[in-house]
Subunit: 144 residues, 4 copies
């Protein structure tokens, strides 16, 4: 990682009523929908949409996640999701995320993934994809 | 249908925070989850669980639905879903529903389904299943 | 309505895994989330965001909806939601929608709303808002 | 904790189509809905339903969660959710969970909560409730 600065992928998203629960805040499980949407756009951004990877028998099931809820997001907020990688091996990778409203961090999260075939057999991350991933790889800012 | 009274299937369900949105009421789209849960239990009750039908290449995609919202359901309510059929032909059927809290009707709904193979080809409703359906067939109480 | 053409509001949306169910299609209830997202953006477009209306004690609860499912939307589809009004009175309004993938209509829907205070008392639609609504009012293309 | 065995709360739940996504498995965020449903029933079981606590100005917002996904749950599975406490202080508590299908553990999870007023001020867990909680307190079986 010498002295290059890793890239961060950013994705904006508007909170709807469907995302919220009582007390005017986003339901705690819905943030995982937001993170998935961000991963989908990230994969498109780097030229490897998840759908075309799947058609080539490569998927990235989540094997673990953790979320730290700092402040509630609310109806109609525009949220910015920031995404990068904190770990990358031949068959596994870890995404880290921050969700912000304006400049305030509302949530930090991590998702761990394994690279598998559609039939769940572990496989190596395709080389060109791994090269793209590595541009977003930086030191962990672990949420917990 | 002479003078026999058709049966009504009843299914109880507890409202969670995940089902609710701002203003302490169930989100308008979540009721479709409730209706699906009721259909699943109804199919089990009559001895034709949806999963085993699907394994025999028979599914019932929804082609139309309508919902009339009379009163909001709220967090922690125990809802009773009442389900029956109002139409039944060789390849199509219509479910009708009422959702009640205690004796008050909160919602009325209809879902129209077609019987197809898993690859979406229309097919006849299996004879023994149609016989079961017919026990729950009664005059429409159209929600709209 | 003389010979002016009514406007149609258009809103694009990407289908995520969270929206889908077995068989690679969008879950039938999730489309109501999409319609809500489109209404939210429509209200912003015409200068009356739902959140600021609510802060002025004006909300638009859904009292009825109907959906006609023509073709399934699938993971990663970009959907275009088209929205207009087909009815508008002093206290009620009806939105109509089409959801398209490229030029193909996948779904048609209607939602009926009543204008109320936050405490659920019917009230007149604010005059300036009604004027905005009327630009999107056209003959019904009823989905059923 | 001497040599008494702590209690475990168990809650059964049927997986619906609404819970599932492509590839016939439960969507990774939906498990948080299941955990919330289990907490709701647990609170009812110990005589302190969340709704009545809220009416007495006591809520338990989630400040952190982590989930370890071991095996996918699938459509129509009957899941057993096992719930206990692994930490309990004057203002904070940690629930731990296992989700099983038959005797196989599919998922392990932890949720950390703080006790607050409805207006988000930290407050002590009511004494009688803390006494109930303590019966379910046992050594952590941390999921990660």
């Amino acid at each position: 990682m010498d002295n290059k600065v890793a890239e961060i992928f950013m994705f904006d998203l508007r909170v709807t009523y469907a995302d919220c629960t009582l007390g005017n805040h986003v339901y705690y499980g819905r943030y995982l929908d937001f993170l998935e949407a961000a991963r989908g756009e990230f994969h498109r951004e780097i030229g490897f949409p998840l759908l075309s990877l799947q058609e080539k028998d490569t998927i990235f099931p989540v094997i673990q996640c953790s979320i730290k809820y700092l402040k509630p997001a609310r109806y109609d907020d525009v949220l910015q999701i920031r995404l990068w990688l904190s770990k990358l091996s031949q068959v596994r990778l870890t995404f880290e995320y921050e969700i912000l409203r304006e400049e305030q961090v509302l949530l930090k999260a991590i998702t761990d993934h394994v690279c598998t075939s559609v039939s769940d057999k572990p496989k190596r991350i395709p080389e060109q994809l791994a090269a793209k991933f590595s541009k977003y790889l930086q030191l962990s800012i672990t949420p917990t």
